[in-house]
Amino acid sequence: MKLIYRVISRISVALLILMAVWATAFYFIIIDEINDETDDTLEDYSEHIITRALAGEELPSVDNGTNNTYYICEVNREHAIEHEGVRYSEDMIYIESKGETEPARILKTIFRDSLNRYYELTVAIPTIEKEDLQETILSWIVTLYLILLFVIIGLNAWILYRSFKPMYSLLRWLDRFSVGKQLEPLNNDAKITEFRKLNDAVLRSARRNVEVYEQQKVFIGHASHEMQTPLAICQNRLELLVNNADVTESQLEEIIKIKHTLDHIIKLNKTLLLLTKIENDQFPDQKEIVVNDLLKKLIDDYSEVYTYQNISVSFIENAVVKVRMNDVLASVLFGNLLKNAFAHNHKDGRVEVLITSNGVEFSNTAELGELDSSQIFTRFYQGAKKEGFTGLGLTLAASICKLYGIGIRYNYKEKEHHFNLTVPKI
């Protein structure tokens, strides 16, 4: 979930609650005020009639066309004392001018005249108009509420989007960034202090990463390179030693063991050097290579080497695949994968090489179980240690693939390893 959506959704929920409360409160306050005003009108009306009645003035006509009605009746003392003062009520009353019965708010007031007689004045105002008013208020509150909600959410979204622009541009830059590639300039003129700091921190750390990576690469390259000569000398010396007549049988055995180990080291060193060279882009010359021809030759070679394993090979060509790459690297890549297919196989196993228009698939019956597909292309990963293998073969293959934009994928089904190469069209 994007930060901006999270913020907006939270604001919306908070607003929804807040505005609902506000609208309800507002509605009730207004309605209460209307009731209050109605009561005030009733009170004024009642007072006007009472003072006129007491002063002996002529009373206003009952049928005055306003739908407001009143009537005075004399009541006995007990009733007056029981219902002393003012009473509000809501009831149906008959409006003479209209000849209809309608709901009304009623005020009853008990008063006394100079002759100690008690009267009850009833005044009534129809509440129909009030109901209309309430409906109008309610509908407008709902409208206002919705409009406000949408406007606020919209504004928030816009403001947030604007404010977070530098962050998104930084994130896009980070997506493009990868160690080993040239560092892109970060054009992010943030005016916000936090974003500026973030930019600085990210840029510094990216620069440092690139620097460390470069140093490491150079170091490995140099180390492998420098080790080549001493290793070759060691090898020569051992050979001289073997040819020496003074060496006893048991010493010779030891020397041969040492030689085996040394051979392994030399192989490892060569592979590392090759890796470094690939990563340093030291194989500039490319040419078009027909994968079918290359594989045919390699399969012939390896079948011969592994004849003792009695492995059946099937080579299926559904298409002719061509690729532009360095010819040495091409043989390293396809050779490695093919060699793996033969080497990590059991006796009487099967190797299948399938060429389609998309690329090449190497399948072979597995000697041991599934490999860890997340680790398989990292250096020195070996499912199980095997004599004569450096653990760098697949790393090498992956580096070559990366260099030429070839997709490489591993999966395991039905006790078979499958390596898929997706070759870009040329």
Binding site: I17, L18, V21, T24, A25, F28, I29, D32, E33, N35, D36, E43, E47, I50, T51, R52, A53, L54, A55, G56, E57, E84, G85, V86, T109, I110, F111, R112, D113, S114, N116
Partner: protein, 145 residues
């Protein structure tokens, strides 16, 4: 959070209900001493038709209707704020000396039918529909339309 909003709503509703002001009928004996004194002095022969008390949150006021149709209003201390005798005449002595003199001089034939005072001024209504305004020091301020 929700509970907070709920209580807020309740508070608003309760306070508005309190603001709405409640009328309550009272007997003459329940009026403040000063108010009873005022009625006894200026409306000696006239009985009270009914009296009521209006309570608001921070204030109280009293209203008395007399059987001759006069209406007198008092503040919470019992000081009069309005005397309305639309159909007769405000009893002599209620209108302050200086104002009475001004009226006798300028509107000799008119009777005062209502006098109202508050913290700002006096307002008087005469039976010839003239309305007058005086400051609290009883100086004439002008006619009111």
């Amino acid at each position: 959070m929700k509970r907070f909003f709920l209580s807020l709503t309740c508070l608003i509703l309760v306070s508005t209900a309190a603001f709405a002001g409640k009328d309550k009928a009272i007997t003459v004996d329940q009026l403040p001493q000063t108010a009873r004194q005022f009625i006894k002095e200026y409306f000696a022969a006239i009985e009270v038709s009914y009296a009521k008390m209006e309570s608001e949150v921070f204030d109280k006021s009293y209203e008395v209707i007399l059987v001759n149709g006069c209406k007198v209003e008092f503040d919470k201390k019992g000081e009069w704020t309005d005397v309305d005798c639309k159909y007769s005449e405000v009893p002599a002595g209620i209108v302050p000396q200086k104002i009475q003199e001004f009226i006798t001089k300028n509107q000799p034939s008119a009777k005062v039918i209502e006098i109202d005072r508050d913290s700002r001024d006096y307002e008087l209504k005469l039976d010839n529909r003239v309305e007058l305004k005086f400051d609290l020091k009883e100086n004439f301020m002008g006619y009111d339309d």
